[in-house]
Each structure stands twice: as structure tokens, then as C-alpha cells.
Subunit: 230 residues, 2 copies
């Protein structure tokens, strides 16, 4: 059985890493069973065999595979007879831009809306690490960084424009069915859903309808996970 180290909050079943969500949705897409192991930011020794200190880490027997993009490629290459995550070589190459867009545009637009909610949910042993590392990264206190969320919401929603326009013409980024590109983007929304009640999307946003379709996949796999109603 595959195992995956998965970032958890104070409650072991509150899983909020967008990168772990990418990997878990990819595993669902492939129809592969996985045992997820709750992991906290400060549990570095548990994953030292992976040669680095971040999750997701997939453990396949003797193989330790880290980095969500590498994991997706590992699943695609080792289970070629299961449904494809990329739809071929072109689709694999074209998926990179989505990953970089999520990392460079989507996540940075979301973080100011969600950072304090993450702090509320991280495990007690992670709180000091989380506050210190993020305040160093952003050069200010978490409270100042988050500031007035409502004032930042329009910028977040505007950043979704390319996503919104695409989902107005097709049900998934991958077309009629979801592909790994969908899971890349979904990761951000599952991250937010796990820790925040804040309404990121207007009810009539095509992105919200897509998020609903994604939550329904695989018998509601993501919807069943601990989080807030969105």
C-alpha cells in the first residue's frame, strides 16, 4: 500500500497543504489507494529519508518520492494503464505553466486572505515555527500582513480571470474530464477550505461551480475531508 505524509493541523484529520492536495487528487485520479500519515511542519525527522523537509512525500515500498510535481510524474510513469493525469506528452508539458501560475499568482493572492486562519489551525507545536518562518518571509507580522481582507478580495478574484474565462467554455481545465492541471488549481481552494470560513468566491462565479464539480469527484473525496462549507 502506498503511504503519503500529509500536512495536518491541530486536528489530525484537518489537511490543508495545497501541494498535498494535488498529490492526493492525483492518487484518486489513478484509482490508487493510499494511507495518508498526518505530519506537522516540525516533524522533519519523519521524512528525512526523502532527502528534504517538506510534504507531500510519497512512500512506495523502498521508494521515497517528494515534490508534488515529481509525485504526479511518478504516478503517471509507473501506472501508465490507469487514467492519464496529463493526456500525453503535450499535456504533461502544458501542465507546467498551470503549476507555475498557481505558485506565482494564485497562492500569493490567497495567502493574505488565509494566513491567520492557518495559524488558528496549526498544531500547537507548529505555531512558533509557523509564525516565525512566515513573518520572516513576508517581512511583517501576520496580523499586519493579513490586514483588511475585504479590501484584498477584489484582487484575488481578479487574479482568477484566466481561470474563470476558461471554465465558462469547458467544464474542467482538462476539457470534459479533469486532468492534473485541475488538481493543481484545486489545491489552493482545498487549502482555503480546510482552514477558513472566508467566502473567496461569489456564488455565481463559474470558478465556484467548477470547485463544486471537483469536490464531487471520486465519491466526494475532497468534500468529505474536514473543512468549512464553501
Amino acid at each position: 500500500m502506498l503511504k503519503m505524509y500529509d500536512l495536518a493541523g491541530a486536528e489530525a484529520d484537518r489537511r490543508f497543504s495545497p501541494y498535498c492536495w494535488r498529490a492526493k487528487m492525483a492518487l484518486q485520479h489513478k484509482g490508487l489507494e493510499v494511507e495518508t500519515i498526518p505530519w506537522r511542519f516540525t516533524d522533519k525527522p519523519a521524512i528525512s529519508a526523502s532527502g528534504q523537509g517538506r510534504v507531500p512525500v510519497l512512500v512506495d515500498g523502498e521508494r521515497w518520492v517528494s515534490d508534488s510535481w515529481v509525485i504526479a510524474n511518478y504516478l503517471e510513469d509507473n501506472w501508465p494503464d490507469k487514467p492519464s493525469l496529463f493526456g500525453g506528452g503535450a499535456g504533461r508539458a502544458l501542465s507546467r505553466f498551470y503549476s507555475n501560475w498557481a505558485d506565482a499568482v494564485l497562492h500569493p493572492a490567497l495567502i493574505p486572505l488565509a494566513l491567520l486562519d492557518i495559524l488558528r489551525h496549526v498544531d500547537a507545536k507548529d505555531r512558533d515555527y509557523f509564525r516565525k518562518s512566515r513573518e520572516e518571509r513576508f517581512g511583517t507580522t501576520l496580523e499586519k500582513f493579513v490586514g483588511d481582507r475585504d479590501a484584498k478580495l477584489p484582487a484575488f478574484r481578479a487574479a482568477l480571470t484566466p481561470l474563470r474565462l476558461t471554465l465558462m467554455t469547458q467544464p474542467f481545465l482538462g476539457g470534459d474530464k479533469p486532468l492534473y492541471a485541475d488538481y493543481i488549481v484545486l489545491g489552493a481552494f482545498l487549502w482555503a477550505r480546510a482552514i477558513s470560513e472566508y467566502a473567496l468566491l461569489a456564488a455565481d462565479d463559474p470558478v465556484a461551480a467548477w470547485r463544486g464539480r471537483m469536490l464531487d469527484l471520486y465519491e466526494g473525496y475532497a468534500r468529505k475531508a474536514k473543512g468549512y462549507a464553501v
Copy 2:
């Protein structure tokens, strides 16, 4: 022989529409010969058979095909034995996001840097139309809209981050070879190149190296077109 109406400036061989460039590069990719017909904004009657008033318009015998995305799909579906623009159904679906990103993010970031340069190059009969339509669209004079370009350049370059990160790990958006997604993005740079001497990219930007590779394709097809050295 295929024909295509192609936006031209005061000089008939100065072709600056990003959407026409998408279509012309797609035609090159398919190895199809095309006669391009210089067209100006105010030449609406010439393309009335297409049922709309914008270029590119492809004429294939009795068929008039407009809209660059529709043209790309028309080429893909009617010349399936020529090199694929999408690399399959997944690639086709995944290309939509690139188109929407270019329209919603890349072009809007470029327009404030290039708009006055376009005005300098449009045909005399188009100048009033161009100024009036753009000043209505942007709600200010072209001169005010363009303002201090150097101050706007960092935002343009920052908008390229997902593109830059991708091109740091693979030579083309399509992977080892260019796909239609590459032409979508290239259109913006060929638009700028046709009408502006302004240096959009730092010399050491991976995006600049990619642009160079794109200009080299098909025996320097785009590089031979009238424009400024970039």
C-alpha cells in the same frame, strides 16, 4: 491556396496583430502556404463575408473562418496528418487557459507600454478610428494612458513570472517542441516587435531566450517580418 486577412500598418508589410500572428504561426506549424492580405481597421467591408469585423480571417475556398482560436482548431481538424498544434485532446483543452491568460493578463500589461507606438504605425485612414476607439475603451487619452513606461515595466515583467518559471525548465511551453500555446503567447511579443523599439525584456530573461527560439522557427519566419530588433 489559403488566404488570410492580416492587420497592417501604414506600411503594408508591417503586421502587428497578436491574433493574426497566432494564426500565421499556426499555419507555419502545419506547413501550409498562405497568402496574407494586408487589412486595416476600417476595411470592414472586405471581410463582411466572415460575418464579423475583425481579423484574422482565413479564407479556404468557400469557407471564411474568423477568430484565432477557431482558426487554430480549423487547421487542426482539417489537416490532422500535419504536425499537431495541440498534441491531442487534452492538449487542446489545456491550451484554452493560455489564450485566456494572454488576453486577460499579458495583453493588458503590454498595452500601456505599446499603445502610442501602435498609433505611430497605423495607416492614416485608421488613425482617427484607432484613437477614438481606444480612448473610449480606456477612458482617457492615449498619451495619459501610456504615461511613464519605465514605471510600468516592472509590472509587465512581473506578469510574466509563470511564463518565465516554465521556460526555465523546458525550451517551449509545449515541451521540447513548440505548440499552439507557444504561438498564443508569442503573438504579444510579435505585436510589440512590429511597432515598438521599447525593450520589454532584460537580455538575460529566459523569456527573451525563448522569444529568440520562436523567431528562429520555420527559417526565421517571424524574424523576417518587418519590425524592430529585439
